[in-house]
Amino acid sequence: MTKFDQINIGDTLGPLELFVSKDQCRAYAKLMGMGEGAGRFTDDEAAKKEGLPGMILPGNMSLGLLSKLVTDWIGSSNAWLKQMSTTYRVPVQPDHAITIHGFITNKNPAEQTAEIDVWMENEEAERLVTGTATVEFRK
């Protein structure tokens, strides 16, 4: 369990190393109702027709994975993920290794909040999705 007073600017979250398969990507898209009419999430050929290199992860799935890094870090602490913003720079492809990094970049003692940079990288260390999260510790 982490307390606000114990965290420091510069502390790292993760890295979280993952491999998302095409089947998992399809399953997510189907579960979220994206399968029909959004072949880029389920089918390589449909994605290529749109100019993509192949199937890509839905943006919400990438957002969920970035959030997982933060919520795993929060764990059982008396805190919550208050805000998260993301920028989608490069399509995320399934069947590739991805790594998610996080750093605590700021603390606000009055608000009991911590600002966290998060991003997802591919095997080439290219940043695919970047974002910031605000975690609030309950007083």
């Binding site: 600017i9 510069g10 190393e17 993952l18 491999f19 998302v20 398969s21 089947d23 998992q24 399953a27 913003s85 920028t87 720079r89 490069v90 290794a97 991805i98 790594t99 750093f103 970049t105 700021n106 600002e115 940079d117 991003w119 095997e123 080439e124 260390a125 290219e126 940043r127 970047t130 910031t132």
Partner: protein
């Protein structure tokens, strides 16, 4: 005495960044051993941001904070250093279709300098435009190293530099606090003001420096659990 400046950064004044300037300076202090940067230049998107007084922060952290702009032209994105009232009156910085040649010539006439940034990036870099348009005149320098480059982008920038003899700069293009200072420019002179910076950029006495950690392969990626 040399000076190392990160010439390309975005703070929360840009719509796609949430990074406060103070957090940038604190991160530079924390990472000084890995990224020995003496200062940053805020290059907010499509504007010249005069807001905020950073002198107290400069004193607190011992880090220089200068201001410039990143604008959008028919040859891609470009950094404008030495922005003054004449330039702001002459150009609508929010216009995403500025004429690059006019911008370069006019900014030089008004005392500044334009440096095309991430030239190797598709769509918004100069390299791609050079494939089907005539080369620009009076370009002194381009950004050789960009902290946000994907594989191949810095290589295309290097190709342009070799072919046209441009001077080369570096900048992080940071939109996140923890990415500040990953790339920068090392000047042989001491720089304290924007006028110093413009003069040195014109004088070509600098080189890009790369503080990005060496890229390493992911050894053991863990498969996500299926549910």
């Amino acid at each position: 005495m040399s000076t190392i400046l990160d010439l390309h950064t975005h703070s929360e004044a840009s719509e796609d960044s949430r990074a406060p300037v103070e957090a940038y300076l604190n991160w530079i202090k924390l990472r000084a051993a890995e990224r020995p940067v003496d200062g940053i230049v805020l290059t907010e998107h499509r504007q010249f941001n005069r807001g905020g007084d950073y002198r107290a922060l400069e004193d607190k952290f011992g880090t220089l904070v200068l201001r410039a702009s990143e604008v959008e032209t028919n040859y891609g994105h470009m950094l404008v250093f030495g922005v003054n009232d004449d330039m702001v009156k002459r150009f609508d910085f929010a216009d995403v279709h500025l004429d690059a040649q006019t911008l370069i010539n006019e900014v030089a006439r008004m005392g500044g300098i334009v440096v095309p940034c991430h030239p190797g990036r598709p769509n918004i870099g100069m390299y791609e435009h050079y494939q089907n348009k005539p080369p620009l005149e009076n370009v002194v320098a381009v950004e050789a190293l960009n902290g946000g480059s994907r594989k191949g982008e810095d290589e295309r920038s290097a190709e342009l530099i070799a072919k046209y003899g441009f001077a080369a700069t570096g900048g992080s293009d940071s939109h996140l606090v923890s990415l500040i200072g990953l790339c920068a420019t090392k000047f042989s002179a001491y720089i304290k003001t924007i006028e110093d910076l413009v003069n040195e950029l014109k004088a070509r006495n600098y080189e890009p420096v790369d503080f990005r950690p060496r890229r390493k392969a992911v050894p053991h990626a863990v498969a996500m659990e299926s549910r």
